[in-house]
Symmetry: C2
Subunit: 329 residues, 2 copies
DNA sequence: CTGAAAGCGCTAACAT
DNA sequence: ATGTTAGCGCTTTCAG
């Protein structure tokens, strides 16, 4: 069974493809009778316009691309959900591509998306630098970023990471802690990949600590951060809070502390970041930094579509965050 | 800055587009010198072939579509990850579309995928019935299913849900439980949407219980299954196991039992299904049914691509499962 | 070795 | 009101 095209319909109805087009897209200049005949034939044959042909001539594909590291971290699954929903409501499809934090993969994917003529791209980049940005600038495809920021050429939607960590540190200070173990494994990739988010958070840590000269701290960036934490806990006898830059780190930490028989928060405090929904099932309930990641997803889709339609969108949009106090600290 | 096409290159090099094509896709019948010239020009201009044009003439888009309910349930996020990885390694892109368990949305999306000429579709359907299947059959686009099964026309890759629940019940029996609260909220949509998976599991429950006439049971399908469970627990004083058809239900149950101050597993046993990775962080550790969902994702992509290339794939592929014993039961 | 022409499926401008 | 033609960007066949 051959795929049926407008040409077939034209032949069957004894008219030309131009006329078929007029009927299908109900444009003026066609006799009601022939229109009916054509529509009926199309209906019966189960005709569906080919999107490739349409896209080629229209110059738009009504497709968005979203590039993220992976979808294991719940925060990105949630973001995607919201993004997809808004996109669909505007008639856009979305390609979800995962860079797996691999710089080459990311570049290949971006090229592919552009070659496929997506109308716009939302990107959480793992690449950075002038070469990368000029690559992105070569295309007229609108690109927005989230997570790791690029230069101001690319509108960015995210939270204020610096302020968020500052708030976290202040919260820790208020709770009377004297020492902070700051857990941010991605920091060790500094200079090799785009770690704008971890760096911003780290900057927030530094500036907050200046307000609290009484609080000492240790930064942990190793892959085996759990082991590193336990080693650190041996050394110091000051009242310690473990501040993790992601809930998924905090969950690992919590688990290992439990295994080691340590009491949270009495022996040591733990704080996370993201407020992923699975925290509902965790004990002890984790204090963390909360923000509406769905809001980010929605705004990304919305702004991207606006840009596609020629509107100017703000180069920076900050979504609010807050401290979600529970009982791990 | 205008997008550059093979036409531009042809003009610049003073040749025709056919020759440009020969150079770009290094086909024979071209003088090395002109080939060099063309490749150089293409390189300098940053030429990239347009995928729409290519797809139109080649008759393939090298794109796969995967349709699932959502990506909140971790099991589907994991499946997608594996699917995407295999697809990419074969040069395929993937459209991830979410039906949100809405039948109309699913149908609209499937139409869209076909109109966009995806080369194949992996589908966990929420629709069912002859009308739906004939809609799917109208296209020559290969379609595989996972999760809810359709008829044998659509190759299916999944676990043996019946056997899995039977194993779960046997495990519960061995542990000496006398009563089972079977939690499967989707069952209440029977007749309205495709709930093949829940039904298979339910069938597994029934047949297993025939082997254990001493075990009584109650089936819970209400949306407020947590409340229903607590009501049931009041009534019976037999040793009770709560068998949930998804870990996410089990997590909710565990949480509510904890809030109610009930001891698991001594006062009541709980068992889940899926062995999602977040179980690592849960206390008490949840006994559940384990299977390699990544394996399903990989096989889906692999088989789909085979079918696209004309191979015949088995109409049914069963991935193994096992009981993951922890300490909630 | 290269050019000319046709076609993938669609839309749009221009004739009749 | 309908037909004709051209073109989106690419590939492919057939001439030269």
């Amino acid at each position: 069974m051959q795929k049926i095209t407008s040409k077939h319909i034209a032949e069957i109805c004894g008219v030309t493809r131009g006329t078929v087009d007029r009927a299908l897209n109900n444009r003026p200049g066609i006799k009601p009778a022939t229109r009916e005949k054509i529509l009926k034939a199309a209906e019966e044959l189960g005709y569906r316009p080919d999107y490739l042909g349409q896209s080629l001539v229209r110059g738009e594909t009504r497709t968005l691309g979203i590039v993220m590291f992976d979808v294991h971290n719940r925060i990105f699954a949630q973001l995607f959900h919201a993004f997809e929903e808004v996109a669909r409501s505007h008639g856009y499809f979305v390609y979800l591509v995962l860079s797996h934090k691999d710089q080459a993969v990311e570049i290949e994917y971006i090229h592919n998306l552009i070659d496929r003529r997506v109308d716009g791209i939302a990107l959480n980049p793992i690449n950075e630098g002038a070469a990368f940005e000029s690559l992105l600038q070569k295309t007229r495809t609108p690109i927005l970023t989230f997570g790791n920021e690029l230069s101001a050429h690319f509108p960015h939607i995210w939270i204020d990471d610096q302020a968020a960590i500052q708030d976290a540190v202040n919260h820790i200070a208020v709770k009377g802690y004297q020492h902070i173990l700051y857990v941010s494994p991605p920091l060790r990739f500094k200079g090799r990949e785009n770690i704008h988010v971890p760096e911003q958070r780290y900057a927030g840590l530094q500036s907050a600590l200046q307000q609290h000269p009484d609080i000492s701290h240790t930064v942990i960036t190793s892959k085996d951060y759990v082991d590193a934490i336990h080693a650190e806990l041996q050394k110091s006898f000051r009242r310690t809070a473990i501040l993790c830059t992601s809930d998924i780190f905090a969950l690992e930490v919590l688990k290992s502390l439990k295994d080691a028989g340590m009491d949270v928060p009495h022996e040591v405090g733990v704080m996370g970041f993201d407020n992923i929904d699975m925290l509902n099932y965790i004990d002890p309930p984790l204090t963390t930094v909360d923000y509406q990641v769905e809001d980010i997803g929605r705004r990304l889709a919305d702004s991207l579509i606006r840009r596609i339609q020629g509107e100017v969108v703000p180069s920076r949009t900050i979504v609010t965050h807050s401290i979600m106090e529970r009982s791990s600290l």
